[in-house]
């Protein structure tokens, strides 16, 4: 005989304000099989859990239902409580009466009635639950970091320092990412390269870190603790083990007109090149779309001059396969394309630039050696106008609906740096709102205004047009209720940022969920901000949402802590809610194996007794519980119903359906 206990949580007023929790608990007492029903203010609290534990022991409960928040929130908590009281943790079911009831309904009677149905449904299910025991799977003590920007670098260093092997896969020829392109960093104005490049070197020298530059993830199989990843090592046409980084090839290469991506295409580079002076690995790469040897078959000058004999025009993409226990995604961002914003004249005027382009123009290692010169004529600009929120907070479909978060701060930084270096320059900033939450952030922005006399104009720019060589920036000054036009020499667009587009493919490979803006979704916005809902996958940096360097580094270290915690375990508990075939009913038809994404189903020839001393050998399905992820695709494909899913059995769901339909 089943002895079910029901526990209704108030969640303070979160549930109790709209659901009559006492009435729910009372009504449920009459349900067949229910021997105990109670309500409490915070069921997830220590006291609440104690209430559950006591009831389990006192009333000898065989199963419990907790009417509370989403099972995605506290199912694990209540399972643990049940286990502590000696009840199998899988004899617990949650009725979601908060997210799916009290929070979305306003009428108390209606919400209470629904809560009762939801609790009844959970009771109907729990009555058919079976005690389950989690299995174990080994953990591969190696981590994969996808993306070699500051997020990836920080995560890799932290994991490696804890003594675990880490591979960084970076699609570009060098690690460093966006941060390597920056000049100074806010709010301290220290030099970006000065703080980043030592970390890049640390990575290269760390005995536990393997940098796989110019590589991409091709295929991911397996699951937490046991990922099997295929990595494409793109042909760079230079032997990484031989190249000494002497740069003689760059000097001799006759094809020097390639756009320099590192400098935001503001200058050119040779076909064979090292992206920048401090690149890691300090190894050249040939741009085969530009190289004369690849285009005409003639040339080969770099090969002739390379003393190390590192040039190899025949090099092909190669693939390596490695096993990992955990994966950190740190794919970063790019500024959006400005095709939808003709009003700012970016395409037509060389002197309308993005902020990232300005970073390169201000950088000592950039195309102008750090001297601020206009791209059009190489003159010093006398009037510089910044426009914020270009493409951010845009719900018209032209840009991005979110705030890019970093623009207010870097624009203040740019304005300040220009005023500092060239005090005779006039600097205007058009802004909608100034958003500077963060330690010393608002103080930083105020310095730009108070100390550096930057002219902040509240209002958006409507148009930028060229008149007699001047860039006329026409916009609102909302404080004065005026329309202003500022004749400028240089216009800088604080362009919105978006996730690096390659993240989509990676999300698909990892089956990590992704939102409508292509940001990877975290497991919980507040409590599990660095974990992807896919176990064993962690998120660092802008791939998860717009953020600045300090936040990125914090998140990367948080990821590392999670990864270290995972890799430190010798075994992982596996989900016991896996598919299991009833061999007596299995036809051996292979339909289930056809739909299994994990290859968890194989077939065995088994002898069955037929009665009367006769036996029969039949082909039947066999599920590897360590590989099965418990999706249930096989259960529906199985025509005989031999395949069922533990924890979500057909009988359980049927019973839920029956209970939930009853009015």
């Amino acid at each position: 005989m089943q002895r079910i206990g029901v526990f209704i949580c108030w969640c303070g007023s979160n549930i109790a304000a709209t659901v009559d929790v006492k009435k729910v608990a009372e009504t449920i007492k009459a349900e067949p099989g229910v021997v105990f029903s109670d309500n409490y203010q915070y069921m997830c609290s220590e006291n609440g859990q104690q209430l559950i534990k006591n009831a389990i022991k006192e009333h000898n409960l065989t199963g419990i239902v907790v009417g509370a928040c989403s099972p995605r929130m506290h199912e694990a908590t209540f399972r643990k409580a049940a286990e502590a009281a000696g009840l199998n943790p899988y004899m617990v079911e949650i009725a979601n009466i908060r997210e799916h009831c009290s929070w979305i309904h306003k009428d108390m009677d209606e919400a209470t009635e629904k809560a009762i149905v939801l609790v009844r449904t959970a009771i109907a299910k729990v009555k058919l639950n079976a005690p389950l025991t989690a299995g174990e799977s080994p953990v591969e003590k190696r981590a994969l970091v996808i993306g070699g920007g500051i997020a990836g670098i920080q995560a890799a260093l932290d994991i490696a320092d804890a003594g675990f092997q880490v591979d960084i896969v970076e699609k570009n020829a060098t690690i460093g990412g966006r941060m390597a392109q920056l000049d100074k960093t806010f709010p301290t104005l220290d030099c970006s390269a000065c703080i980043l490049t030592p970390k890049m070197v640390d990575c290269a020298q760390h005995e536990n870190i393997d940098i796989l530059s110019y590589s991409e993830v091709e295929e991911v199989k397996g699951f937490v603790g046991n990922f099997n990843v295929k990595i494409r090592r793109k042909a760079r046409f230079v032997d990484e083990t031989k190249c000494t980084g002497c740069k003689i090839c760059m000097e001799k290469c006759p094809s020097k007109k390639g756009l320099n991506e590192f400098n935001m295409n503001l200058d050119t580079r040779p076909a064979i090149h090292i992206p920048f002076a401090q690149a890691i690995p300090n190894v050249a790469v040939i741009d085969s779309t530009q190289c004369i040897k690849f285009k005409t078959g003639k040339c080969g000058i770099c090969q002739k001059f390379c003393e190390a004999g590192a040039i190899d025009y025949e090099q092909k993409d190669t693939f390596i396969e490695r096993k990992y226990g955990a994966i950190v995604v740190a794919t970063g961002f790019k500024p959006i394309a400005l095709d939808n914003f003709n009003e700012f004249g970016y395409a037509d005027n060389k002197d309308v630039i993005t902020s990232l382009e300005l970073e390169r123009l201000m950088n000592a290692a950039g195309p102008t050696n750090g001297v601020l010169l206009r791209p059009s004529d190489g003159e010093h600009p006398k009037v510089v106008t910044f426009i914020q929120c270009v493409g951010s907070r845009d719900t018209s479909g032209c840009g991005k609906p979110y705030c890019s978060k970093i623009c207010c701060m870097y624009t203040a930084k740019h304005a300040m740096m220009i005023r500092e270096k060239y005090p005779d320059t006039e600097v205007h900033v058009f802004y909608i709102d100034i958003r500077t939450p963060g330690k010393n952030y608002d103080e930083f922005y105020r310095r730009a205004v108070e100390q550096y006399d930057v002219d902040y104009i509240k209002g958006m720019v409507g148009k930028v047009y060229n008149e007699n060589g001047k860039l006329m920036v026409q916009g609102s000054n909302l404080i004065d209720n005026e329309q202003v036009t500022i004749a400028s020499d240089l216009v800088v667009l604080a362009t919105a940022i978006e996730p690096e587009p390659s993240v989509r493919k990676i999300a698909t490979l990892l089956t990590a969920s992704i939102d409508t803006n292509n940001f990877l979704t975290e497991s919980h916005a507040k409590l599990r901000p660095v974990e992807s809902p896919t176990a064993g996958v962690y998120l660092a940096g802008v791939c998860q949402g717009p953020k600045d360097i300090p936040e990125t580094v914090s998140q990367a270290s948080a990821c590392a802590a999670k990864v270290i915690g995972l890799l430190a375990k010798s075994k992982l508990k596996t989900n016991p809610c896996v598919a299991t075939p009833d061999e007596a009913m299995c036809n051996g038809c292979s339909q289930c194996a056809n739909v299994c994404a994990y290859g968890a189903i194989t077939y065995v020839e088994k002898e069955f007794r037929l009665g009367g001393g006769k036996t029969e050998v039949r082909r039947v399905a066999s599920v590897n519980p360590a590989v099965c992820q418990g999706c249930g695709a096989c259960t529906v494909t199985c025509p005989s119903g031999a395949m069922d899913l533990r924890g979500f059995s057909s009988k359980q769901i049927m019973s839920e359906v029956e209970a939930i339909c009853k009015k």
């Binding site: 089956t511 969920s513 994404a597 999706c631 979500f648 769901i653 049927m654 339909c661």
Partner: protein, 150 residues
């Protein structure tokens, strides 16, 4: 005016099967964002939309549901890699078949709702309830014994 009040008296019984990773989380987000939808929508959690057997859908109708909706991750984003691709085929065929047998096509629906789409979840449910309310009670795919017994 009268028509409106008459229709309001009928509140359809809606069963929503939601996959644990996207749509159930999307429903949670709708909840934490306080995006309302009618209380007659009730959710059953399944690990993946591909766990939903046609018998569950039929059972729901038999037991008096007036509309059944399946929600899963967007195709390509399935937590279980390919589960919802099978759902898509199965339910396309099943729903077309049910319609072939005369069941109103508006009573069945498949929607892809990600964990980030709380607003979409609420919109979808509001819309579905509206559609099914306009259709009226499910009479064609129900077990009279169940309806009378209640």
């Amino acid at each position: 005016m009268q028509e409106v009040t008459e229709k309001k008296e009928f509140t359809p019984n809606i069963v929503a099967f939601c996959c644990n990773w996207c749509s159930y989380a999307g429903a949670d987000l709708a909840g934490s964002s306080r995006l309302t939808y009618p209380a007659n929508v009730k959710i059953i959690r399944v690990p993946c939309s591909c766990r939903v057997n046609p018998t569950f859908v039929l059972k729901a109708f038999q037991q008096g549901a007036d509309g059944v909706i399946l929600c899963g991750c967007h195709p390509g984003d399935c937590h279980y890699v390919t589960g919802n691709y099978y759902t898509r085929r199965r339910m396309a065929l099943l729903f077309s078949f049910l319609n072939y047998m005369g069941i109103e096509k508006e009573r069945t629906r498949v929607e892809w709702v990600s964990a980030a789409e709380g607003a979409k979840f609420s919109e979808v449910m509001n819309d579905f309830v509206k559609t099914v309310t306009a259709l009226g009670e499910n009479k064609r795919l129900t077990d009279l014994r169940v309806k009378e017994g209640k």
